[in-house]
Amino acid sequence: MSKSAYSTPGKKGKFDKHIIVVWVDNEAGVLARVVGLFSGRGYNIESLAVAEVDAKLNISRITIVTTGTPQVIEQIKLQLRKLVPVHKVADFKREDKNVIFKEMALFKLVGNISKRKKAFNACKKYNAVLLDKTNKSYVVQVTALRREIDIMSKNLKKLGLVSVSRTGAVAMTRGAEIFK
């Protein structure tokens, strides 16, 4: 038997990827409460995006991409709902066709013009916007899915990509309905 005062771990379930959206009062320390809950209870954070969405009601919207067993995901939601500044919590499965997920990335490309043009063309299918150009460089903005940005940032290396900055995913349901 284990020589521990604690029990041994039981069976682990299957891990799913979920996007958790949390509406919170925009007050000091609120992000620390949410993030601290995740780290304190050993939950995963793959990405995080947060900003105020309603200046009048003082509401921020936090979007967290996480993985866990169904039991853990359920706990994450219930624990979040207990936090005093939390208004509501939505949970979307990554595979959910009814939800749009987007991430934004900024690419800095340095190199000769033909390489840069080639790189920009490659970005075009991801809503590429040329934000800045000099005779040596481009800064390009793309919005896409996480894995698409992963692939792009790998492929653009040989075309002069020197710096990447990216946001966490944000999510919204399709259609006229909003999450209550």
């Binding site: 005062a5 029990s7 039981g10 069976k11 409460r33």
Partner: protein
């Protein structure tokens, strides 16, 4: 325009409007304006402790024994960090505390000022919520909200951090407002369908059991009354967690004793073999469940809890009922009375086999021990203490370890709020300051801390508090010179390597008592034990009772961790009868 008040005045006005009678605290630089204001508020009495951890535990003892929230006042920096253990303890055991801490002036926050620490940062994971007051205009609203958060839903500790400059500034005081549920958080979220479903399960069950916990106590004394009615109306057996003791009479025939790691043979086997488990206000803690995968494999499980996040956290349940225990039991009773007024009688036949089985388990007498005429057995000491204090409406606190389990096993409670012990966090040093708080709440009652000599030394300084306020608390130390539970685990699981679990130098507790200005009594053998206990009970002053007990005694029964409920280690009597040999030995 209405009168303006200083921040310090606002603090007291809030406390007055929240009907606070006692604050447990310790002054310091960053709370001096609040201490300065104390003299103007005669309805509030300040209890000066000797260490901020003591303030926290005393407030816990006060809260648990009175049902009212405990209030703590500490200074910035070390004052706040010292109270963290007590806040965490209160968080784990769901005790309502409001901790007010001083902070360095706002313009110094973040400069590593003298006695500055990130109090709200440090206490964020061990409070239900905390606030740093940055604007005097928010102060009254925040303190009222702090009381609401601490006392509603699943209770717990909160902290309000008030910078010193805010304590001096002036603003209008606002009274508490009854408002709608905070951010839409509701506490009762069940309906009649859930209750009907519960009753359906109850009438189908042939091996049912109630498994009750601290939630019954937290729900108020009425919940304990209703629980007794529910057990009577159903005829089901009932077991309780450590925290739930007292919600059901410990000497009632329906009561199987405490369950869990050191629970009785009958309670744990009944939990393992039942076909319907009704959890009322307990949380499937790991000391209760043992090995999760083999926990009560054949039962339907019902979980009644006020905290939605308790549902399915450790154990998946078939029927969750989210609500205040008192309201859920009350609805259940009403429905039984209407739909099946004769439930207990008509059901008797169905569960009679189950009761027969339980009776067989009971015959094991798993709490038995081998008594001695030479040395005092710790179990015997607790039993004598119980017999000699029975009927005195005694309040018991404990420290943490073997003595705590022996107290839980052998002291029988028949009322809620009489048993204060650190269950979740397991804080050694809890019992003495908790007894201080209990005695403050119940000045005329008998308050005993059943202690271990190692635990009690962690907060021994609070004896000085007890003496200052003439609190006749009784510190009943089961002194075996070991950290007994550590020693027990080392004996059973670490090849008797008693690494650092023996205290080679202990104070003379009788002289220590005298040094503090209280009374010291020592019992060295079973023959004098009763007389000495009676002497203690007849002393109307604080007493330290040094009860020298068997040094090698182990606490049985015991479920070794990682084992299911039906694989218990029983005491020496049983071990002699069923000598553990070969394969069985490797289990230990």
């Amino acid at each position: 325009m209405s009168k303006l008040s200083t921040g310090a005045e606002i603090v007291f006005k809030c406390l007055e409007d929240q009907n606070v009678e006692f604050i447990f605290g310790y002054p310091g630089g960053a709370v001096l304006p609040i201490y300065d204001e104390l003299k103007n508020h005669s309805s509030i009495k300040h209890i000066l402790v000797r260490h901020e951890q003591g303030a926290g535990h005393a407030a816990e003892g006060y809260a648990r024994s009175s049902g009212k929230p405990g209030v703590v006042l500490v200074t910035s920096g070390p004052g706040a960090t010292n109270v963290v253990t007590a806040l965490t303890d209160a968080y784990m055991d769901s005790i309502p505390l409001i901790c007010i801490s001083g902070q360095v002036p706002t313009h110094l926050i973040g400069t590593d000022a003298f006695q500055e620490c990130d109090t709200t940062g440090i206490t964020r994971p061990c409070t239900k919520h905390n606030w740093l007051v940055k604007d005097i205009k928010d102060l009254s609203k925040i303190i009222h909200e702090a009381f609401e958060v601490a006392t509603t839903g699943r209770p717990g500790p909160v902290l309000v951090d008030i910078p010193k400059d805010i304590q001096f500034q002036k603003a209008k005081y606002s009274k508490p407002k009854r408002k709608k549920k905070l951010n839409g958080k509701r506490h009762n979220n069940f309906n009649q369908k859930d209750i009907d479903e519960l009753i359906k399960l109850m009438s189908k069950a042939s091996k049912p059991i109630f498994y009750t916990g601290g939630g019954v106590i937290n729900s108020g004394p009425r919940a304990s009354v209703l629980l007794r009615e529910l057990v009577e109306a159903t005829g089901f057996p009932i077991t309780s967690t450590l925290q739930g003791l007292g919600s059901f009479p410990g000497d009632d025939n329906s009561f199987l004793g405490m369950l869990g790691m050191h629970g009785t043979y009958e309670a744990n086997n009944a939990m393992h073999d039942c076909d319907l488990m009704i959890n009322i206000g307990a949380r499937f803690d790991d000391r209760i469940t043992g090995k999760i995968d083999e926990f009560s494999p054949k039962s339907k499980k019902v979980h009644i809890d006020i905290d939605p996040s308790s549902i399915n956290k450790n154990v998946k349940v078939d029927l969750p009922i989210i609500g205040d225990v008192q309201d859920v039991i009350s609805s259940t009773l009403k429905t039984i009375k209407k739909a099946k007024p004769n439930f207990a009688n008509s059901n008797k036949q169905k569960i009679s086999k189950w009761w027969e089985q339980i009776q067989k388990w009971r015959e094991k007498k798993s709490l038995d021990y081998v008594n001695s005429t030479e040395t005092i057995k710790p179990q015997y000491a607790v039993q004598r203490l119980y017999e000699l204090t029975k009927g005195k409406d005694t309040y018991i606190t404990t420290e943490v370890g073997q003595h705590q389990m022996w107290a839980a096993q052998h002291y029988k409670f028949d009322k809620p709020n009489r048993w204060m012990t650190s269950g979740g966090l397991g804080t050694m040093g809890y019992g003495l300051p908790a007894a201080v708080g209990v005695q403050i709440a119940h000045p005329k009652k008998l308050v005993i801390d059943i202690a271990g000599e190692a635990s009690v030394l962690m907060t021994m300084q609070e004896m000085s508090t007890a003496v200052q306020y003439n609190l006749p608390i009784k510190i009943f130390i089961l002194n075996n010179e070991y950290m007994g539970m550590v020693r027990q685990w080392q004996e059973l699981l670490h090849d008797k390597n008693y690494s650092e679990s023996y205290t080679a130098a202990l104070p003379d507790f009788v002289k220590l008592a005298e040094a503090y200005g209280c009374v010291g009594i020592r019992a060295t053998n079973p023959n004098e034990l009763d007389d000495k206990i009676i002497e203690m009970l007849n002393t109307d002053r604080p007493v330290i009772f040094d009860c020298l007990v068997d040094k090698q005694e182990n606490c049985f029964p015991m479920i070794p961790s990682g084992k299911p409920h039906n694989q218990m280690l029983l005491g020496p009597k049983d071990q002699e009868q069923n000598k553990i040999t070969g394969k069985g030995k490797t289990l230990v």
